[in-house]
Amino acid sequence: MTNLRTIKIEMNLKRFTVSLLGLMLLVSLLSPLTPAASAQGLPVYGFVQGLWGGFLHERNPVPSEYSASEVRLQLKLEEYSGGAEFFARTDFVYDDISDDQYNWELREGYVKFTLFNYVDFKVGRQISTWGTGDLIFINDVFAKDYESFFSGRDDQYLKAPQTSLRVEYYSPYGTFSVVWTPEFTPNRIPDGMRFSYFNPMVGDFVGGEPFVLMARQPESTWENSETAFRYQNSVSGWALALYGYRGFYKNPVGFDPMAMMPYYPRLNVYGASVRGQFSGGILWVEGGYFDSRGDSDGDNPFVPNSELQGLVGYERQVATNLTANIQYQAQYMLDHDKYVASQMGGATEDELRSLITSRLTKTLKLETIVLSSFIFYSPSDEDVYYRFNVDWKYSDNMTLTLGGNLFDGTSGATEFGAFMLNDNLYGKVTYGF
């Protein structure tokens, strides 16, 4: 056992060295190219990034001791002609932890154009964001990537791309937006291979091949497409918005007892938000009704009950170069008594789940050093997720980052408690060109 472990560490170290060498090679190759490329106005740019992270718990039941070990090349290409904009952003990744070590993904690839002066179209692979919350989402039912989020990848990776059609109409009465996604795009959540999770059926934290979370996706049919809608207007300096979503839960929160498999139940969301300046800072309030279509009565034990969600947040600059915010979110389960009855003694969720978050950002030395900390704390679930990072912008091209993701809780059955063996620290080197 000890031997195997030593060999594994040695192998990992070897891979680490190989990745590092690869990164250095790429950087040295690209450096002399950079001035020439920009001089010619070549529209290709991007970054090379190495990310390495390790777990803090010995007994995290996942195959690797590393939470991340990857080298990423991101290339961006843009072209504007004939009134249309083309944009592509592609990642090429060498990932030591993933099964397919060499991988690539089209993060964005779209064309944008305007018709009839006031209607903007964006067609293709794209990332969509709306709503007011800071890292918490009610009416933003677009795909997220929590595996990236927990592993120290850049913030941009929290949002996963969807292949969609976006139409926005700017009228004197406000802005109407529709994002239509023909094929359901789920969240990317820890599935047991990189990060462990709490499996209620096993009653323990699990990870590795036998526990890879598999879920059944909705079939690709017209009926199963996702539609998100927003209406936005500004009233005396306050940005007001109404939202609607028709689709599915983005996490596999349903369970099919016949197939013994998790799946994505139907979901509609209706909500509203308001955001504006208040007392020298920014105040936001958002609410939504989560209509769980597969469990309208709340008595189906295998499908979540409908919910009301609300959040309020406030951000302000508390000192020069120091910004702080605080948010409170409440999730109120409808028909909680029926849920309790249907779980037959196994109910784990409270009627009211509350969450408090706070972000602190401090910049030093003319913004070349950025200290950032974000805490999620749920008083009702008694769990915590704390993330922090220090960015040092060594030059316009080179950034060094150190950071960590820490989880804690009293039970594995809660949102962050489920990941409590995944505490990790990471280091990241980014070279932009």
């Binding site: 961006k76 944008k112 964001t129 940005a239 800072g281 920014i282 000192a319 910004t323 910049t363 316009d396």
Partner: protein, 271 residues
């Protein structure tokens, strides 16, 4: 009776206006009036403007960082509200990022940033106008201007600076709690009212920052400071800002300064 009173007021106002006009020369000794004209010349040239900006930030070890962006400005009223739009080209990690300010003469500016990688529009809670603009030695207030009415001004002397006749004016903030400076000495060109040099002192009367207009060019008949420098005297850092491809009165529409154009840059001005 009411009509008569209205007429009287009208005549009186006219007479006052006439007096003000005939006294124009004498008023040039009025430091507040000079600072107002200077503010207009520097921050409110023409009705709108577009420029490409190259910013170079040099730290105390001589290490240089660069930012390149296009800046659009639209005046709502001379000396009043303004709108700014910025599109970044460099460094590459902020390319395509846009930034917008609705500057309010009443004092509550609004700022938004658009982060294209996550399609996120975020209002910025930035109460403090003395925080650094994109990591440079210029503050937000340096970029969009501090209203002349916020300070009391004294004409110290008339002098020459690098061959230009100048008024030397001392300004002290009316608000005792203001943190940007305790005292500012401005050298205002008699020829075109542009500030050629500004010295900022802290409450211990130590020189903290110096602004210099390194180059003035006449563009579309408007004298414009095309090379600006801000030096942090205490830290030994400085930032230079080079304006190029300057164009005035482009008929920039008000709608450019909205969320729509934050997400979709106006291509007639942005490459």
């Amino acid at each position: 009776m009411k009509k008569l009173r209205t007429l009287l007021v009208f005549v009186l106002a006219n007479a006052l206006g006439l007096m003000a006009f005939s006294n124009a020369n004498a008023q040039e000794k009025d430091p507040t009036e000079i600072m107002k004209k200077s503010h207009m010349a520097y921050y409110y040239a023409a009705d709108d403007g577009v420029a490409e900006v190259n910013m170079s930030i040099v730290n105390d070890k001589g290490k240089e960082r660069n930012r390149r962006f296009t800046m659009l400005r639209l005046d709502q009223a001379d000396g009043g509200d303004q709108k700014y739009y910025t599109y970044f080209y460099e460094p590459s990690d902020v390319k395509r990022l846009t930034f917008m300010v609705h500057k309010s003469a009443a004092g509550n500016d609004k700022r938004w940033i658009y982060v294209p990688a996550v399609d996120l529009i975020k209002p910025i809670a930035a109460d403090d106008k003395n925080s650094s603009f994109v990591g440079s030695n210029f503050t937000y207030e340096d970029v969009s201007g501090r209203l002349w009415t916020e300070d009391t001004h004294t004409l110290m002397k008339e002098d020459e600076l690098n061959g230009s006749a100048v008024w030397v004016i001392e300004s002290k903030p009316k608000d005792a709690g203001y943190g940007g400076f305790a005292r500012k000495v401005s050298y205002i060109s008699k020829e075109n009212y542009l500030p050629l040099r500004e010295e900022y002192y802290n409450d211990k009367d130590e020189l903290i920052r110096v602004f210099t207009a390194e180059k003035v060019e006449v563009i579309d008949q408007i004298p414009t400071v095309t090379l600006r420098k801000m030096t942090d005297e205490k830290k030994g850092q400085y930032t230079t800002v080079q304006f190029s491809s300057i164009k005035y009165n482009q008929g920039i529409k008000d709608e450019v300064f909205t969320e729509r154009f934050l997400k979709n840059p106006p291509r007639e001005f942005v490459k």
